[in-house]
């Protein structure tokens, strides 16, 4: 039998249906792969017993002809998702020992469709980071390495564990979340496909909150089809999240492989940054050529407020985070460090429980919301956000169906390489992705080639609200032209 972990999610699904192997065999193959790959530090908690039990139930349902859409397919879950009775800490020390008594809506949707949980995936603490280096559990190692080098690289972040696990074949697909680029940037760094759906497409209930007006759940997968299959199961309207939207969930997989003929693709001039590496520019041009040859119409567009998205994000997101993270007080869950009185206990607990990046963002957020500064910072940033969204509305109203940009300004960098840099330098990783969160739009990162050093590079497709289908169509056209990418196993 060939290595079961080499199959895509769609292939494994079809093979299980054809009874070529069992769900237990498939799950065991992944559990064995995970054991051999612990050096990557992708999982922070493995749940082999639960996985085998779920796989056994799947085999029974398959035998009874009652298989769900994801029956028997082993997945990894980002540590930000509440999973009942299982490690859920958003990779923070402050949530030490937290095991929720409830299940997030998105993961519950996956289990209802028959998926199997392999464990919880590493991430930047509270999803604050672009390299997975802020995790309390240590950095994730990117399964990709530069040609002829054994230096360890970051997988991107915050969903670095999700991206690394998918790229290294340690799960068929993974859940992730995206507040400013946390699905798309790690997908681009690992040669995987990741989609941040429209704000409201997936329920946020049971996700550890970072910035509530920006957070959105989505999948990271081996290819565009797998991402489409996973999103269909993850998305739903949910009475427990009033920002989840009551629009039917389409069959996203049906959009994969459709013709792109006649679609109008906007190329925003503001994404052509000064000092952008030539290979990123060349990759973007390659994407343009692929879509044009496939019959799409390419049009130059302008999104004039693009450069203000990142600074506005670094007001809005920390402000919301400072409010959301106020709940970690040493009383209701997680870590408690004693003090001389209750305030001293709060201060000691939060000083010991939060890492440096999280503290930095809480302080920025507290400052911009504090008396006398609210109008100058937060209110102004929310007005700029209106203008950013209006830029997109204007081009969509003019008949543009989707927008093509690079996903990141560079390929993956070395672990520790930016440790002494200014925090803003790390933030610039999200310069192409953050606009999409600010406007609430869907964005798909799709691998499009390798750098001169042999590292994956990705393109981003941005769509109209709730038009994820067009993104899957366009993403699959790019994938068809360039193929898919897998790292050489060294671990």
């Amino acid at each position: 039998m060939t290595d079961l972990t080499s199959l895509t999610l769609a292939e494994a699904r079809d093979a299980l249906k054809a009874k070529s192997f069992t769900a237990v065999e498939l799950t065991d193959a992944y559990l064995a792969a995970m054991e051999k790959a612990r050096v990557l530090n992708a999982y922070v908690a493995e749940t082999p017993e639960k996985a085998r039990e779920m796989a056994k139930t799947s085999d029974e349902r398959i035998a009874a002809g009652k298989a769900g859409a994801l029956e028997g397919l082993p997945l990894g879950i980002k540590d930000l998702y509440a999973t009942k009775g299982v490690h859920t800490q958003a990779c923070s020390h402050i949530l030490d020992g937290f095991e929720p008594t409830y299940e997030s809506t998105v993961s519950a949707n996956l289990w209802a469709d028959g998926a199997v949980m392999l464990g919880k995936l590493n991430m930047d603490e509270f999803a604050m980071g672009s390299s997975n280096e802020t995790s309390h559990y240590g950095s994730v190692v990117n399964p990709w390495r530069r040609n002829g080098s054994d230096a360890n690289l970051v997988p991107g972040g915050s969903s670095g564990g999700s991206a690394a696990a998918v790229a290294a074949r340690l799960c068929l697909g993974a859940t992730a979340t995206d507040t400013g680029g946390s699905i798309r940037q790690p997908a681009a760094f690992t040669g995987t496909a990741g989609i941040k759906p429209t704000y409201g497409r997936c329920s946020r209930w049971g996700l550890v909150a970072f910035a509530s007006s920006l957070d959105q759940a989505g999948p990271i997968a081996r290819d565009v089809r797998d991402a489409a299959i996973l999103l269909k199961s993850m998305a739903s309207v949910d009475p427990k999240d009033t920002t989840s939207v009551d629009i039917p969930v389409p069959d996203y997989e049906a959009a994969v492989g459709k013709s792109v003929k006649g679609l109008r693709i906007g190329i925003p001039k503001e994404y052509r940054l000064d000092g952008m590496p030539a290979e990123i520019d060349a990759l973007w041009q390659k994407g343009i050529d692929i879509l044009r040859e496939a019959g799409a119409e390419i049009v130059d567009i302008s999104l004039p407020h693009t450069k203000y998205a990142l600074p506005a994000y670094y007001i809005v997101a920390p402000a919301e985070a400072s409010s959301n993270l106020a709940r970690y007080d040493g009383v209701r869950y997680g870590l408690r460090v004693p003090g001389s009185d209750i305030v001293d206990m709060y201060e000691n607990t939060r000083a010991a429980g939060f890492g440096a990046e999280v503290k930095r963002r809480i302080l920025i957020g507290t400052y911009v919301l504090s008396a006398g500064y609210y109008d100058a910072y937060y209110l102004r940033a929310q007005k700029v956000r209106t203008l950013i969204k209006r830029d997109f509305e204007t081009v969509y109203a003019a008949g543009v169906d989707a927008i093509l940009t690079p996903a990141t300004p560079s390929a993956a960098f070395g672990i520790g390489e930016k440790a002494d840099a200014d925090p803003v330098e790390m933030y610039l990783n999200d310069v192409f992705t953050v606009t999409v969160n600010m406007a609430g739009l869907p964005g798909l990162a799709v691998p499009a080639g390798l750098s001169a050093e042999g590292l994956p590079l990705g393109l981003q497709l941005i769509g109209r609200p709730f038009d994820e289908e067009t993104l899957f169509t366009l993403g699959s056209a790019i994938e068809k032209a360039v193929g898919t990418f897998a790292p050489k196993r060294w671990w």
Partner: protein, 95 residues
């Protein structure tokens, strides 16, 4: 705008995070670097622009005014670092 170490200490107090002198010093520099970066927003003409309140234009749904949850004190306190008889225990706050 920029902050000094005293302001960082005041904000840290508001956020209930204890900071050492070294941390306050380092954070002052980092916060000033971030505040310097966001300063470019001052160039944008926002006259007459409404601040964003909801990124997707939907009407807020209202649920039925009925009890759908509760009666689970045990579950609610299950993860508390210190609890007794389904109550959260904290240091004494009233003499």
């Amino acid at each position: 705008m920029s902050v000094d170490t005293a302001t960082v200490r005041r904000v840290a107090r508001l956020a209930r995070i204890k900071v050492t002198d070294d941390e306050a010093e380092r954070m002052t520099n980092e916060l000033n670097s971030i505040l310097g970066f966001v300063e470019q927003l001052d160039e944008v003409d926002v006259a007459g622009v409404e601040p964003m309140t909801s990124v997707v234009s939907v009407k807020m749904r209202r649920r039925q005014d009925v009890v759908t949850d509760g009666e689970d004190a045990e579950g609610v306190t299950a993860n508390a670092p210190v609890s007794e008889d389904n109550f959260f225990l904290v240091p004494k706050v009233v003499e």
